[in-house]
């Protein structure tokens, strides 16, 4: 399938879609007008698809500078009467939280959907937060799809619900839904309105205390009404497998695992699938509890619904056992799978569940951690900095490497080991400020171009104003790399694929008043090392911008142009000093069984930085 087909495939057709792609089709079928995001896995492919089709679809799409801005863009569009869609990874909602909370208070006019892609098991995230709790904190209706078809269908439903109650709607997916592919039956695409009109109404849109006290009350009234809808909604359904001993309350991915285990083992249970799960449909769940002997709650990450079920049991003074996370029937941490559900069920059902022979190996298996790609400019930056540190005889243990969310954090691996602290987007500089005040150690903060625009500017202002002694390295690879290569304000293209003003990082840094500012192409190792030496000795805020396109960009450009440069090692010149292997460590360079060092031509991207590293000049272009 080609991404374009998400737009061009007709009503009645079907596509094998990723959950994220299904969200795009759902938004189009729901007549969306404005779409905004800041890239974050597991939600990234939604943006990748809009980037490719927005212009043709007549939808406005942008990669905003961060999630809070993205939310505000969609919020304003909805206030102007347009349907809007903003999506982000779960921790992105933390960045957006301030405006998110208030948007639920003010409400909307056009339908607005906020999609949070949670990441149980933290495949590409720093934490495992469950944003169903965010729904409760904000007081926003919550939809939990279990597969791509539901993702698509819920988009349309969400817009309608949002408009009916003039409230944004939160959709919570998880990695296994976002990155699950399934057969999706398509509906018709509705063209959204091109422009809206904002009708002034400060009592609704200005959260001054006098108004927000009224908004708070109104929100509670809305939620009571929406709860009635959730109670009767066909989205919440009972699957009766012909028994009443055990009733299972479940949602999202957990529902899929429950269904597969129940079907395979032919278990006589009753299942309540909650898709419209907040406001929690109390009456529906109460009736369900009353119809079974005991209850199991199967949900991914926190015991959110389990506590709701327990509250109902307490409120109505019911004497029934509730199994779930709180009593240890199911684990509290990490993503579920059919095996975990099966093990949990074994503890509470009488039937014998299918058990299979389980193989394992005692052989050592090679570690394959994610690495900086061959040709990655961050490797050159890291290598040159490491060399400068060595030349200045600075002690490694006294240096604090404050890293950030981006590919350069992969320099945490040996041999670089250049990540000592990393907590959130943009944190490297703020954390650097703190260490600069709290210690006499040398502080080096790493941040990427996109991350700098996202949340790096204000801590840099802080560093300058508070006279901190830090070196900030801005690794500008001309792309938002780690999420797969999206545009950002530093490149001359916007989210629609149209030409756009390129925001200069150097001008921002100079404008803020950093003491030393240098921009360098890190692929020139010698010059880069010299600049780092100067910057490391500078007292105050020194900023070095290492600017070179991501290898994903250069590889694609070279492929297009038919350029294929590969490097090779001249075995007669090679002294096997192993600097290229042990100190530089490009995945393309490896040691052969006979001890010789070689370059894998399939992996080599021809950047040539290794040739500068070799003291014997043994690395040369392959003829």
């Amino acid at each position: 399938m080609k991404v374009k087909e998400i737009l061009t495939e007709k009503e009645g057709g079907k596509l094998f879609l990723l959950g994220n792609e299904a969200a795009v089709r759902g938004a189009l079928e729901g007549g969306v007008s404005v779409v905004s995001t800041y890239p974050g896995t597991p939600s990234s492919e939604i943006g990748d698809a809009f980037y490719k089709i927005a212009r043709e679809a007549g939808v406005y799409f942008e990669f905003s500078s961060n999630e809070k801005v993205a939310l505000e863009v969609s919020t304003a569009a909805a206030a102007a009467g347009l349907r809007s869609f903003v999506f982000m990874k779960h921790v992105g909602l933390n960045v957006a939280a301030d405006s998110f909370m208030s948007t639920v208070y003010t409400g909307v006019r056009g339908g607005m959907i906020v999609l949070s892609a949670d990441d149980p098991s933290m495949y590409s995230s720093q934490n495992e937060q469950d944003n169903r709790i965010m729904a409760r904190l904000a007081g926003i209706p919550l939809l939990e799809p279990s597969n791509p078809q539901e993702v698509k269908d819920l988009m349309k439903f969400g817009f309608e619900l949002s408009e009916q109650f003039k409230i944004p709607v939160l959709m919570r997916t998880t990695t296994r839904i976002s990155h699950m592919r399934g057969v999706v039956n398509l509906g018709s695409i509705i063209k959204g309105k091109e422009k809206g009109y904002f009708k002034k109404n400060p009592e609704q849109y200005v959260v001054m205390p006098t108004y927000s006290v009224k908004m708070r009350k109104k929100l509670m009234e809305k939620l009571d009404k929406i709860k009635e809808i959730a109670n009767d909604s066909p989205l919440n359904k009972i699957i009766d497998k012909g028994g009443k001993t055990l009733g299972i309350v479940t949602s999202g991915s957990a529902y899929n695992y429950v269904m597969d285990v129940v079907s395979e083992n032919n278990l006589k249970v009753k299942i309540l699938k909650l898709t419209f799960s907040h406001p929690f449909p109390e009456k529906l769940v109460l009736d369900f509890i009353n119809s079974v002997d005991n209850i199991l709650v199967a949900e991914e990450v926190e015991p959110v619904m389990e506590k709701e079920v327990l509250a109902i049991i307490g409120k109505y003074n019911i004497k029934k056992k509730v199994y779930g996370k709180l009593d240890g029937t199911l684990p509290r941490i990490y993503e579920y799978n059919p095996d975990i559900i099966s093990i949990g069920m074994t503890k509470i059902v009488d039937e014998e569940l299918i058990k299979r022979e389980k193989f394992s190996t005692k052989l050592p298996l090679p570690l394959r951690p994610p690495v900086l790609c061959p040709g990655c400019p961050h490797r050159a930056t890291s290598f040159a900095l490491k060399k400068a540190i060595k030349k200045l005889k600075l002690k490694e243990e006294d240096i604090i490497y404050s890293s950030d969310i981006g590919c350069y954090a992969l320099a945490i691996q040996a041999p670089y080991k250049m990540a000592d602290y990393c907590i959130s987007m943009g944190s490297s500089i703020g954390i650097g400020c703190g260490f600069a005040k709290a210690t006499n150690q040398k502080v080096i903060s790493f941040i990427g171009d996109s991350t700098f625009f996202h949340a790096g500017v204000s801590p840099l202002i802080n560093a300058v104003h508070n006279k901190d002694n830090i070196l900030v390295v801005i690794l500008d690879n001309r792309i938002t790399g780690m999420t797969g290569g999206q545009t950002n304000p530093g490149v001359p293209v916007d989210g629609m694929g149209n030409p756009a003003p390129e925001v200069s990082i150097e001008k921002i840094v100079r404008g803020v008043g950093a003491g030393l500012v240098k921009t360098i192409d890190p692929v020139d190792l010698k010059k880069t090392e010299e600049i780092f030496k100067e910057a490391l000795q500078f007292e105050g805020v020194a900023v070095v911008i290492t600017k070179h396109p991501c290898a994903i960009i250069t590889d694609a450009e070279n492929r297009k142009k038919g350029i294929s440069i590969k490097y090779t090692i001249n075995q007669e010149e090679c002294s096997r000093c192993l600097i290229c292997v042990k100190n530089f460590t490009c995945p393309a360079i490896y040691i052969e069984k006979d001890g010789s060092v070689n370059i894998n031509p399939l992996l080599c991207d021809g950047c040539g930085v290794c040739a500068q590293v070799c003291p014997k000049k043994a690395i040369e272009v392959k003829k």
């Binding site: 990723l18 592919r181 799978n337 059919p338 193989f359 190996t361 090679p366 570690l367 994610p370 790609c373």
Partner: protein
């Protein structure tokens, strides 16, 4: 598809495939081709794929369930077919297969940088295959790299393995639908090479039966 085997006493109406490889080998592409072909046949199909940090250099796992499945994740020991794009990765997926599963393994190793750095170990290839042979009745070891090279491009390794998979008994999707799906998912300029690679993998298994490889 429906069978009673020693892997489970009860009827199983779902065909489950795990694919494992290293980032860049085309694992996700091969899986998508199978999934779309299954959809064309009118079957239900769900698939789980990997995106994000692991894409380059890391182990990439995809799981496919064809039939009336809800979740795309395969229970331990339940895979009908494992396609491993790299020898040691087959061992990493050993928990998903049973004695009677079909296991197709590419014999070309990819040694990660951690081995050169001395922080991890790559086992002897012969011991990897011995271990697999001892546990799996239907083991097919294929030099997909060599076959792909002969077909015209080493990049087509994934299609060699896909061709081999289609040739295994019980594979639930027809060859012509897979070929149609390949044409829709691969760049037009490389389709000839890819089809050649696919056909070579197919023939290799059809001719060799259960005994190819070791």
């Amino acid at each position: 598809m429906s069978k009673e085997s020693d892997r489970g006493e009860k009827m199983k109406n779902i065909y489950e495939i795990q694919l494992i490889g290293v980032g860049g080998q085309g694992t996700v592409k091969a899986s998508t081709i199978v999934g779309e072909a299954a959809m064309k046949k009118g079957l239900n199909v769900v698939m789980s794929e990997v995106h994000g940090m692991a894409q380059r250099g890391g182990a990439v796992v995809t799981e496919l369930k064809i039939g009336e499945a809800h979740s795309p994740l395969i229970e331990e020991g339940a895979a009908d077919l494992l396609i491993s794009f790299e020898p040691t990765e087959a061992l990493r997926s050993l928990n998903k297969v049973g004695r009677d599963s079909f296991v197709i393994v590419n014999s070309s190793p990819i040694v990660p940088f951690t081995v050169s750095l001395g922080i991890s170990e790559y086992p002897e290839l012969s011991s990897v295959f011995e271990e697999l042979k001892a546990k799996i009745n239907n083991l097919l070891v294929i030099d997909a790299q060599k076959i792909a090279k002969e077909a015209g491009n080493i990049i087509s390794e994934n299609m060699v393995l896909l061709g081999a998979a289609i040739a295994t008994p019980e594979f639930p999707v027809d060859k012509d639908l897979v070929i149609q799906s390949m044409k829709e998912n691969l760049p037009p300029k490389s389709i000839k090479t890819n089809l050649k690679a696919f056909e070579s993998g197919f023939v290799k298994v059809k001719k060799g039966g259960k005994s190819i490889g070791i």
